[in-house]
Amino acid sequence: MAAETATKEKEPLLAFGKKERTLLTDPLNDNNPITVQVLGICSALAVTSLVVPSVVMAIAVIFVCAFSSLFTSLLRNYIPKQVRMIVQLVIIATLVTVVELTLRYLNFPIYKQLSVYIGLIITNCIVMGRLEAFAMANKPWRSFLDGVGNGLGYGAILVMVAVIRELFGKGSLFAGSGIEMKIIGANAGYWINTTENAWFGWYANNNLMVLPAAAMFIIGILIWIQRSYNEKLVDIS
């Protein structure tokens, strides 16, 4: 006990030990916001038909999640219990507005493509959920890392789904950006393979993958795979 308090006093403000590392890595697998906590599916699956918008969305969520956790944690002792929801919503809404305006300035086409989904980060349950579950009860630095970790766990699933959907639905990767690659199918020929010697030249694009339903199937299958490896996550009810 004495040793514990001693280490606590010595702990620097921005410590990065084992506990902090688990805050970052846990949401990637054991405590993934999408496949385990079932939070934040709402606002972003519709953007996963292409990789580039998903990456932008992931970065936006990481930013909002991290900083809203940080600010809520800084203010946690001053927020009255009854109005905490509204205070949290205002913090999140402000950050999302910052993200929205920045993206509009930096890259208007992607801003248009994401349309309402950037604004919907506000009601993304993952942000609110982490504020309620973690930031209201923990120190700022830890809350910040927890926010980053959950944003990363969320972004990882998003990008995974987007890669599968774009590759099989359009035969390309990173469409709409400077490094667009057409990888499989008849017109492939951007990357390592050439047009004459295209990979899987017989492949016709699977239109199912472009539909919203495909995202649901892919996440269902990802959950299946994850739970087969990780038996403690299996739903026993």
Partner: protein, 203 residues
């Protein structure tokens, strides 16, 4: 009136908020274990969506847009104001229901406050702005969208009640299966794309 039905049918069936736009997915998956609770939440969503949509329309037109009361372009405040309206409307609805119909209040229970963070509500308002609906159209969109959400959550709750007795592989049980069913429902709803809302409008 024709235009009203046109938008209503489109919002409820063809562009279903859950199955085509993934809005309100969290509560959709969390509260769809039994039909009874799903029914209560669905009704509450129709109600709140139907109320907040015209209010947010009025705010957008009269306060935030450049031709509004203040004469300034305040659209950067849109997100904060919309979510504040939604949060306060949910609170208000909760108090009114509690006062005048305690039985309905008990039936809805915890679902009412949950609606604040249901993306379908804020998403509906943001779609309304980006599609430039007028007041009637936004009411129709609110009610139609709410009705579509209601249908979807009832359907999945009924399926999940039945599927509990089937032999699903253990890792897929529960959440994984719910995702796959939702995907199949999305494909099923695509068959409704054949509906021509203009036919209703012309009658």
């Amino acid at each position: 009136m024709g235009e009203f039905f046109n938008i209503f049918i489109k919002a409820a069936f063809i562009e279903n908020l859950v199955l085509a736009y993934f809005l309100g997915m969290c509560s959709y998956l969390a509260v769809s274990k039994t039909v009874k609770t799903a029914f209560g939440l669905g009704l509450a969503v129709i109600f709140v969506l139907g109320i907040t949509m015209p209010i947010n329309w009025l705010i957008q037109e009269n306060l935030l847009s450049e031709g509004g009361l203040l004469g300034m372009d305040l659209t950067f405040l849109r997100l904060i104001l919309f979510i504040a309206v939604i949060a306060s409307m949910v609170q208000l609805v909760e108090m009114v229901v509690e006062k005048y119909s305690p039985s309905l209040y008990n039936a809805l229970g915890i679902f009412l406050p949950l609606i604040t963070v249901n993306c379908a509500i804020l998403g509906g308002s943001l779609f309304m702005v980006s599609r430039e609906y007028n007041l009637t159209e936004s009411v129709a969109f609110g009610l139609g969208g709410g009705f579509g959400w209601f249908l979807a959550i009832i359907a999945i709750a009924a399926i999940r009640e039945k599927i509990r007795y089937s032999n699903v592989p253990a890792p897929l049980r529960g959440l994984g299966m719910a995702f796959i069913i939702t995907g199949l429902m999305g494909i099923a709803f695509m068959s409704l794309m054949g509906i021509d809302p203009a036919a209703f409008a012309s009658n």
